[in-house]
Every structure is written in structure tokens, then in C-alpha cells.
């Protein structure tokens, strides 16, 4: 009786996993990736298979908006127009938001991937970020470099 307790617990928790799994595939479309930097969203949902209508398969939808008028360096309006756009699924699917884990009663922040500190090349502006540039301004024969907002609505102070 006593030794069977952990097995019961295991069975119960496996049940939870299955229930959770069942909740997941309730036919609703889920967001796997929402990369605002490269303007890519990846969603997936279960749909009836074309080969076997009784079977459900996971359909993955990848939506990419290519900003054809963006510059090589989006923070520099004088840089040339971007002509190459590279989308790597492995990079897009990378999880870089930290998770909280508890170790010995203490809560720590843990990184979910090992290459999250590398700078990411963005193809478009992130609405939540303020992008600025400097431009030369001649006044009374004197040239000054003045900072200007590229995305004014995103540049308000709190």
C-alpha cells in the first residue's frame, strides 16, 4: 500500500500531462513565434489530415512581412536599402525571455537559451522602442549635430 503511493502520484500527474495536452489541441490557433524585430509570426493549429480525415495533423503557419523600404541599418536613414532578408527558423524559435526557477527556496532568473546576448539585426522598428539619429545642422555658419527621433510616437518620456 505504502510503496504504491509514488506510483499513484506518478499516474495522477501523468493524467495532468495528458489533460494539459488535450487542452492544448482544442483546435485553437497558437502563437509559437511573434518576432517584432523581423516581423515574423509563426502559429500552429491542429487540422484534419488531407490523407486521413480521421487523423489530425499540426499545421504551421508562417507569416512574414518583408519591409522592402527598410535600410541596412534601421537607425541610420542614410544607409543603403536592405536587399537581403534572412529568416532562420532556429533563430526565430529561440526563447530569450528569462524564466524564474526556484532552487533551495531561492528564486533565480534563468536564461532559456545560450545565444541570447548576441545583437539581433532588425528589419523593422519595434513600436515600443525609440529610434533616433543625428543629422548635421548648419546655423550661423556653425555645423551642429542634432539628435532627431525616427519614431516620434515611441519617443515620449513616461
Amino acid at each position: 500500500m505504502k510503496s504504491s503511493l509514488p506510483w499513484v502520484a506518478l499516474a495522477v500527474s501523468l493524467g495532468f500531462v495528458l489533460v494539459a495536452g488535450y487542452q492544448w489541441d482544442d483546435g485553437e490557433e497558437r502563437v509559437l513565434v511573434n518576432n517584432k524585430c523581423k516581423c515574423v509570426t509563426v502559429t500552429s493549429k491542429f487540422v484534419p489530415s488531407k490523407d486521413n480525415p480521421e487523423e489530425e495533423v499540426l499545421e504551421r503557419n508562417i507569416r512574414i512581412i518583408v519591409p522592402l523600404k527598410s535600410r541596412e541599418n534601421i537607425s541610420d536613414p542614410t544607409s543603403p536599402l536592405r536587399t537581403t532578408f534572412v529568416y532562420r527558423m532556429t533563430e526565430l524559435c529561440k526563447k530569450c525571455d528569462p524564466v524564474e526557477i526556484e532552487l533551495g527556496g531561492e528564486t533565480y532568473q534563468a536564461q532559456q537559451s545560450n545565444s541570447c546576448n548576441e545583437p539581433e539585426t532588425c528589419y523593422t522598428y519595434n513600436r515600443d522602442k525609440c529610434y533616433t539619429t543625428t543629422f548635421p545642422f548648419v546655423y550661423h555658419g556653425e555645423t551642429k549635430h542634432i539628435q532627431a527621433a525616427l519614431t516620434p510616437t515611441s519617443c515620449y518620456a513616461e
Binding site: P6, A20, V31, E100, T107
Partner: protein, 661 residues
């Protein structure tokens, strides 16, 4: 002592169990919340369908996350055509031809709401529109279908609720006095019908356990439902109603939308507390606002029983074991609960008097384990003598800030050596033995009470240990006669033993050794105790084993284990009586209708507490022992003086406990 270290077998089993559970729960929990639904891509939310009358007017309210950029960006209302969405009106001042003088858009950036009003409606206005943010129609918009009819009746629109992820929401419904005594419920619309979420019969959906509350409002027939820790899965259409869905009564539609906010996640929802040790619940609030009331309450299916608030309210069973530490600078109040027992397991809610404030709920789970902080938990002293309260801490707390404080209903006042207002006190840290000693020299009657030893790390309150100090003011000691007979008949100097006069000690063991050295009488008493203790314990174990064996023999035909059988039966009996309205107790009926907030709540708290207490009293013998143990903590006694005293305590305590509730 509850934090036993000799229960390694049990502890190991528990860790294994916890490990298995954790291993299987972690992926389950994350799989559920890792991938948000597609609706999360568009955070702008508004009605899907609005109805207007010819020559009448409609008003459309759209919500957006009040981030800096959203607050300053352009808001628009456009009409969908075959290829694009043509702007009707925008906050930059544009107004399309044909709409001049009859359409307005007003932005409330602080609340994250835009309001569109169209008047002098004609049939030509019927169509599909969008309310949105920005310069183009990419992503940040909500589609609204406008229906124009001649009337006179137009369908009622769903009430909209816009809730931040992990935030909380309060939904109010009022169906009038006619339904004052009818069943009230909230259900969620799904493909198969309306799934019951909560009702006044105490039925709560498993997904909402511990994070939903239904409370009656001041007016008859009105009620409100509060949900915390709102997740993506909670978005959707709900019905609140009276009666029964699809059968009788009335309903109202509630449309709930979840958006990802900018505020940081509020930490973990589950807190693990070691039995006998303490747990800290951190509650967050808006530091820019001024609250007259902040409190913590324990969730029940019928309401939320207040445990502590900032005005000094504290029910009896929590005396000396719960304290609130407010930090207005970063907007947190931490509640520390110590002397944990399995009865403390459950859901706790952080509350303020502001209805709009996000509320947090945490689940407290009690696990077996070792306490970090140890020391003598009950100390008796005589007026004028010196007493040292000791608190030993493990190496893991070496770098932590450690403190002693004096507990009161209003909090725990730190005691430091620099405290000039209390000259007889001194806090010193014995780093060699890793013991924090609080010396009271001389002890006065005012010093009687609860003292807490605790650790702090980065401003976060960690483990605490409570010590009850009993001061004898020259009057007769408050010890029960049986105890005196047993222990102090030949040694009349029992209080002397408890007060190590003029001596610093690091823990109870040392103190006993020191006491036996100093006086022959007390050594005699402890020898007696040493002999009597093991014999008594052995006899008890034998008797218990025999009783269990006998009972098993009797019950063998049922093939049910003793413990679980008893516990389950007594529990379910009580629950049934409670749920299906066996009206045997007027107080219980009241407690079922517990209000949230307000004066009424305070008055009913004691009832819920006491009914819970009687409920617990019906449980198995193990819980009885726990109860007795906590009772012995609450009552002033010297039971921990000798091993023999320990075995008498459970027999002594229950009547005292009953009196203190």
C-alpha cells in the same frame, strides 16, 4: 518541535514524491501557458457587434494596452470597404465627408480607452468598421459590425472586460430583488454549452480553484465574481446569471479579453513552506496610490477569511505567528506566517480597498523538511532576571541580514543594540556558533510576548522563528497542576530551571546541561525525566501499535487502510451537510454568504474560522495531534522543559485551545 530531523525516511519519501510531481507538473503547466492563442497578437479589443436604431446613436468603446507608444499614437475609426479600411474619424483631427457633425472620437490615454460616438444613424451606416491605433490597419485594430434596425427592441450587448495577463478582474451582475435567494452562477461559453465556473452552491471549476471568489453585493440579488491570475485560457465569453443555464432565470453576457501587459510577472504562484517553519507571501500594489486598507485573506469556497490587515485586525489562532511588513517605496507588503502546520495549506489572496487594483493570489503548500532557524521556542523567565533568546541559523543564511524583533498586532518591531528606547536589550551575533542572541536584562513584565528571529535577503523577508516569552511577575506560575505533580514535585525550583540566570546559552540542550550542573535538585528531576520519558514513550508506541493492529484485524474485510478511510469519511460527511443546505446552524448559513470587504466581512470572519476549526476537529488523530501541538504553542506552559512533559502536552491542550478560539 515540528521540524523533526529524525524523520528522514518520511522526508526522503516526500522529496521523491515532490520531485516526481514537479517533474510531471512543470511541463504540463508550461505547455498550458507557453503558447498564447492567436488573439494575443492583436491587443486592441472592443465589441464585435453593436446595434443602433435609425436616427439614434451608438457608442463604441475600444480598449488598448496603455503603453507609452499606444497612449501617444493616433487612434482611428475606419469603415471597411472591399480593399481597405477608409478612415471615418481619427484623433489627428480628420473627419470623413458624410460624417461631419455626427461622429466623434475621444481618447482616454491614461485608461487605455477610445470612445467613438456616431449619431443620426441611417440604414446606410450598417456595415463593418474598425477601431485601431497607428497610421495603418496592420494588426492593432478591432473589427466591429454595426447593425441598424428600426427597433423598437435591440439585443443587449455583452459587457467587455479587458484584463492584463496575470492580472485580476471583478465582474458585477445585478438581477434585482426577485432573485435574492436564487442560485447565482458564472459559466463560460464553450462548444458543448456553458461550463459552470462558480455558483452559490459552492461548486467551482477545477481550473479556477483558489483564484475565484463569488460574493454578494450590498443590494439584494446583486453579486460579483473576482478572478485573479488571469491566463490566456480565461479569455472568452462568459454568462453570469441567476437560476440555471438553459432552464430558468436570467443571464448576462460578459466578454473577457486578455492582453499582455508591461508589468513584470508577479513571481511564482506557489509557495512551499516547511512544516513548523515559515512562509513569506509578497503582495504588490501601486506605490503611487494611497490605500486605507491592505490585507491578506485565506481563500475558501464560500469567501475569503481575513488573516491580517494594516489596521491591526488579527484573529485569535494567528496571534504571534503572522506579521505584515509594508514597504511603500517599492509597493509591496510581505506577510510572514510562521509555525506552519498542514492546516495552513491553501490559497491566500492579497487585497486592498481599491477595486481596480490587481489582486494576487498565492498557493501555499506545506512540505516536510528541516527548519533553517532553530532555538528554544518557549521561554519562561522571572521579572528582574536576565534571559537570552537564542536563534541558531545554518550556513546558508550566513550572508543574510538577521534580526530579532518583538511581535505585536501592528507588526514586528526590530530590536537592535542601537535601540535607545529599550536600554536592556542587546542583539549580538555569535558567528562562531552561528547563533543570534537576544538578551533581555533585566526582564520586565512588558517584555512578555512573542519574539521573532528572522532572516532578510535583498529586502526580501525570509524564514522566521517565533519564540514565546512568558514572564512570571512574582505571581504564581501559570502551569497546570498535573505538570507540576509530574515534574516538579520533588524539585520545587522548576521556574529556576527555566530561567538561566546570568548565563548566556546557545540552545536548549546546552541550557539543560548547564542547569543540571548548577543544582542537584534539578539534575535529580531531569534524571527522573530521563528514566520516565523513554519508558512512557515505549509504552505509548506499544499501545499504539497494538491498537492499529487490532483495528486492522477488524477492518481487514473492508480492505481499506485505517488512515485514509477515516479521514475521507469524516471530511465528506461534513462537506455534504454544508453544501446541500442542511440548515443545522444559523452561523454556517451566514458564513456561506461571506462578503468581500466592508464591515460585514469582519463580523463573519470569526464564524468561518470557527466552523473551519470544528470541521478540522473531526479529522483523524494525526490532525488532532497537530492541533494539540499548535495549542500547546499558543498556551503559556513549560511543556518543553523535559521529554516527559512533551507526552503530557497533547492530553492537556485541547480544552485550552477551545477556550482560546
Amino acid at each position: 518541535m515540528v521540524c523533526r530531523s529524525n524523520l528522514t525516511w518520511n522526508a526522503r519519501r516526500m522529496t521523491l514524491l515532490a520531485f516526481i510531481l514537479l517533474l510531471s507538473f512543470l511541463p504540463a503547466e508550461s505547455a498550458k501557458s507557453r503558447y498564447p492563442p492567436k488573439t494575443s497578437l492583436n491587443p486592441v479589443f472592443g465589441p464585435q457587434q453593436v446595434y443602433g436604431l435609425i436616427d439614434g446613436s451608438v457608442s463604441i468603446k475600444c480598449f488598448y494596452p496603455p503603453t507609452t507608444v499606444n497612449r501617444h499614437d493616433r487612434k482611428y475609426w475606419c469603415r471597411e470597404s472591399s480593399r481597405s479600411c477608409l478612415t471615418v474619424v481619427s484623433t489627428s483631427g480628420y473627419r470623413a465627408r458624410g460624417y461631419q457633425g455626427r461622429v466623434t472620437i475621444v481618447d482616454f490615454p491614461e485608461q487605455g480607452i477610445m470612445l467613438v460616438n456616431i449619431s443620426q444613424l441611417t440604414l446606410a451606416d450598417q456595415g463593418t468598421y474598425q477601431c485601431g491605433i497607428g497610421l495603418n490597419g496592420k494588426g492593432l485594430s478591432n473589427r466591429v459590425s454595426l447593425d441598424i434596425s428600426e427597433g423598437p427592441n435591440i439585443p443587449e450587448e455583452a459587457e467587455l472586460f479587458y484584463v492584463e495577463l496575470q492580472g485580476s478582474v471583478s465582474m458585477a451582475c445585478d438581477f434585482g430583488e426577485d432573485y435574492a435567494s436564487t442560485r447565482k452562477f458564472l459559466c463560460k461559453m464553450e462548444k458543448s454549452g456553458c461550463r459552470n465556473i462558480i455558483d452559490t452552491y459552492g461548486k467551482i471549476d477545477s481550473d479556477f480553484q483558489g483564484r475565484i471568489l463569488l460574493s454578494n453585493e450590498n443590494t439584494e440579488g446583486a453579486f460579483s465574481v473576482m478572478i485573479t491570475q488571469v491566463d490566456w485560457e480565461d479569455a472568452g465569453l462568459y454568462l453570469c446569471g441567476v437560476g440555471s443555464y438553459g432552464e430558468y432565470g436570467e443571464t448576462k453576457e460578459l466578454d473577457l479579453h486578455v492582453y499582455e501587459g508591461t508589468k513584470a510577472a508577479q513571481g511564482k504562484h506557489t509557495i512551499f513552506g516547511v512544516k513548523g517553519s515559515s512562509a513569506t507571501i509578497d503582495c504588490h500594489y501601486d506605490p503611487t496610490k494611497n490605500y486605507s486598507l491592505k490585507y491578506l485573506c485565506k481563500w475558501r469556497t464560500t469567501g475569503c477569511a481575513r488573516i491580517i490587515d494594516n489596521t491591526g485586525f488579527l484573529p485569535g489562532p494567528y496571534e504571534g505567528r503572522v506579521a505584515m511588513f509594508d514597504n511603500p517605496k517599492n509597493g509591496t507588503f510581505s506577510i510572514v506566517l510562521n509555525q506552519l502546520s498542514s492546516r495552513d495549506e491553501g490559497f491566500y489572496w492579497c487585497m486592498t480597498d481599491d477595486h481596480r487594483e490587481r489582486r494576487t493570489s498565492k498557493e501555499l503548500k506545506i512540505v516536510e523538511g528541516e527548519c533553517g532557524l532553530t532555538g528554544k521556542e518557549e521561554v519562561q523567565a522571572e521579572v528582574g532576571s536576565r534571559v537570552d533568546l537564542t536563534c541558531s541559523y545554518p550556513c546558508k543564511y550566513y550572508s543574510y541580514e538577521k534580526y530579532w524583533c518583538k511581535w505585536s498586532r501592528d507588526g514586528c518591531t526590530p530590536l537592535t543594540s542601537s535601540d535607545q528606547s529599550h536600554p536592556g536589550l542587546d542583539v549580538s551575533c555569535d558567528t562562531a556558533n552561528k547563533t543570534l542572541i537576544l538578551s533581555l536584562d533585566p526582564v520586565t513584565v512588558e517584555d512578555q510576548g512573542w519574539y521573532w528571529c528572522g532572516v532578510k535577503h535583498n529586502g526580501h523577508y525570509g524564514e522566521t522563528m517565533a519564540v514565546s516569552l512568558q514572564v512570571d511577575g512574582g505571581k504564581a506560575a501559570n502551569i497546570s497542576p498535573e505538570l507540576l505533580d509530574l515534574e516538579a514535585s520533588n524539585a520545587a525550583a522548576a521556574p529556576d530551571e527555566a530561567v538561566p540566570q546570568g548565563r548566556a546559552n546557545s540552545d536548549a540542550g546546552v541550557q539543560r546541561a548547564a542547569a543540571s550542573e548548577s543544582s542537584e535538585q534539578s539534575s535529580g528531576s531531569s534524571t527522573l525525566a530521563l528514566i520516565l520519558g523513554p519508558i512512557g514513550a515505549a509504552l505509548l508506541v506499544l499501545a499504539a501499535a497494538f491498537a492499529v493492529f487490532k483495528y486492522r484485524q477488524i477492518r481487514r474485510s473492508d480492505l481499506v487502510s485505517v488512515g485514509s478511510y477515516r479521514t475521507n469519511i469524516s471530511m465528506s460527511d461534513f462537506e455534504n451537510a454544508r453544501e446541500y443546505g442542511a440548515n443545522d446552524n444559523v452561523c454556517m448559513k451566514q458564513s456561506q454568504e461571506t462578503q468581500l470587504g466592508g464591515d460585514e466581512f469582519v463580523t463573519t470572519t470569526a464564524n468561518t474560522e470557527s466552523t473551519a476549526e470544528t470541521k478540522k476537529a473531526k479529522r483523524g488523530s494525526k490532525e488532532d495531534a497537530d492541533l494539540a501541538y499548535s495549542a500547546s504553542l499558543l498556551t503559556p506552559s513549560t511543556t518543553t522543559q523535559s521529554p516527559a512533559g512533551d507526552s503530557t502536552a497533547p492530553a492537556e491542550a485541547p480544552p485550552l485551545w477551545g477556550g482560546s478560539v
